[in-house]
């Protein structure tokens, strides 16, 4: 269709837009042609800067009489460049457009010749990197979606929310941030929308301390974020009102968006088997102590843990409850399970520096022969580079659908 100068379209995904000719501004970057994919649950404004043609296929769109991007937004990248600001932290509740804003600022900084990268800390809906990870990507060119940014480094969290483990989450941010600062001039940290209650306050306040941002951008509806930044010099804060056009995502749609990400990630995957001797287990008790001799056929694996932590006891899947309890009585404090309990656990396969190469799903584990088989996207990593198998707290089936939880401290 024909696009007139100053026309503004708000397009809702899932949709594909074909820019045929003319000049268009899309999330802070200019294009004269190209294809844009908008994922479900996302929406993108297209500003026509010079008359041309475009097609919108699928989804829905509305024509607006003014831009949803306030003029103030365009001043921020200039300020970042002018003051050589290195660390920018974005804060906002859920559905306030944080990822959109991150993409906009990064695209604009790219236009200004600043090398910029983004850290995506939303493990529930990972745009950069695998599901359940904190990912970092560099904007080598403009992007329509944060999810189109090529992953540079990621850290495995293994959970869809920071609430599943503050320490791992904060360690991940610190580790990825250090790496990111060595790669680009400016790093934008996109955060989760959990900002209230004990947990939300604690994690966000710690995140502010760890990142120690040079600039904090608040995406607020009212004053809901002020409690987090009252200790920060006001000159380091930019307060932006949330666009009324920011999308509102339900619990069901969030789950569907998450599963779409994991489905895409695991499609065309396959199993790889690792020897116990060649990899370390991380974030679990198992394989962290000293293996014990065992000649009891009703026990597959025994391991003595340090200090008061007790014994890891692995039983065959088919052991009866009475016999199991009888045997457990001999060990006192113990961490026990059967191999079937490990099936479908979400794991990270990480290198010797603790950076995640790939994520996977445990298919099976053979304690007698010391083998673990993991379903993963094989193109992501070389088997020999994997040093750590980091256990997560959730399960997926091999279609990438969420399949339950792992009780913390149970393995």
């Amino acid at each position: 269709m024909k696009a007139n100068k100053n026309d503004i379209y708000l397009v809702k995904g899932p949709s594909t837009i074909i820019l045929k000719n003319g000049l268009f501004e899309v999330i802070g970057a200019n294009y004269d042609s190209g294809n844009i994919s908008i994922h479900e649950g996302k929406q993108i404004p297209i500003i026509v800067k010079e008359e041309g043609e475009l097609d919108i296929n699928g989804g829905s769109y509305e024509k607006l009489d003014h831009s949803t991007i306030p003029e103030k937004w365009y001043e921020i990248p200039k300020l970042i460049k002018e003051k050589s600001i290195k660390k920018i932290l974005i804060l906002g509740e859920v559905d306030t457009g944080k990822s959109f804003f991150t993409t906009f600022i990064a695209n604009q900084l790219g236009n200004l010749g600043v090398s910029v990268g983004a850290i995506d800390t939303d493990t529930g809906q990972s745009d950069i990197g695998a599901p359940g990870t904190i990912g970092f990507g560099i904007f080598n060119k403009p992007h329509f979606n944060l999810s189109d940014v090529k992953l540079d480094k990621q850290f495995f969290i293994g959970n869809l929310s920071p609430g599943g483990g503050f320490s791992i989450f904060l360690a991940g941010i610190s580790k990825i941030l250090r790496y990111a600062l060595s790669k680009v001039d400016s790093v934008i940290v996109d955060t989760t929308g959990w900002v209230h209650g004990d947990g939300g306050r604690a994690i966000k306040r710690s995140k502010l301390d760890i990142v120690d941002p040079d600039l904090v951008i608040l995406l607020q509806r009212g004053r809901e974020l002020e409690h987090l930044v009252q200790h920060i010099d006001r000159s380091k804060i930019i307060d932006l009102k949330v666009s009324k056009k920011a999308s509102n995502t339900s619990q069901e749609v969030r789950k569907s968006l998450r599963e779409e990400i994991s489905r895409r990630y695991f499609e065309n995957g396959g199993p790889i088997t690792f020897d116990f001797n060649k990899v370390l287990f991380d974030r679990v008790y198992t394989k962290s102590g000293v293996k014990m001799e065992n000649d009891n056929l009703d026990i597959l694996y025994l391991e003595k843990l340090p200090a008061w932590e007790g014994t890891v006891v692995v039983f065959p899947d088919n052991i009866n409850k009475k016999r199991r309890n009888e045997l457990l009585g001999k060990f006192g404090k113990s961490i026990w399970y059967s191999p079937k309990y490990l099936k479908d656990i979400f794991v990270g396969l990480s290198d010797e520096n603790g950076f995640c190469l790939s994520v996977g799903i445990i298919e099976s584990i053979d304690f007698v022969n010391g083998k673990i088989s993991i379903y993963l996207n094989k193109k992501d990593c070389e088997k020999d580079d994997v040093r750590l198998i980091q256990f997560g707290s959730i399960r997926y089936n091999n279609k990438g659908e969420e399949a339950g939880f792992v009780i913390p401290g149970s393995i």
Partner: protein, 128 residues
């Protein structure tokens, strides 16, 4: 002051209030069993368990409740718990007959709070 980093504290508060507010041990045990069921479904999310916990005990309309499992509190603060039947004059719970006029409050145990509030978290619970 520091913030709690675990929301299990909310569960302890719930249990504390439960024990203080109600006397009937069978009722308290039934509520705790429901709490355990929810915790087994979402072991990672004590905040969600806690949120659901406060939805377990629901007041019922004195005039309109259906026959089934209820906690009945009379005007003398006596508590009766179990399966009830009723007619226009009385309700019958276990071996007790309680005149409707003496009833102060009626509650029932809602056994699908997590399914209603967080249907996206319902998965098969794996055995160890």
């Amino acid at each position: 002051m520091a913030f709690w980093e675990t929301e299990f504290v909310g569960l302890m508060d719930f249990i504390d209030n439960l024990i203080v507010k109600y006397k009937n041990k069978d009722f308290i045990l039934s509520v705790l069993k429901e709490l355990k069921r929810i915790r087994n479904i979402v072991p990672l999310n004590p905040g969600i368990v806690s949120m659901c916990a406060y939805g377990i005990i629901k007041p019922a309309e004195k005039e309109e409740f259906e026959n089934g499992e209820y906690l009945v509190i009379t005007k003398n603060e006596e508590e009766y718990f179990g399966h009830t039947k009723s007619d226009t004059e009385n309700i019958y719970i276990e071996n007790f007959t309680i005149p409707r006029g003496e009833i102060a409050n009626i509650y029932y145990i809602k056994r699908d709070t997590v399914e209603e509030f967080w249907p996206t978290l319902i998965h098969e619970v794996r055995e160890k």
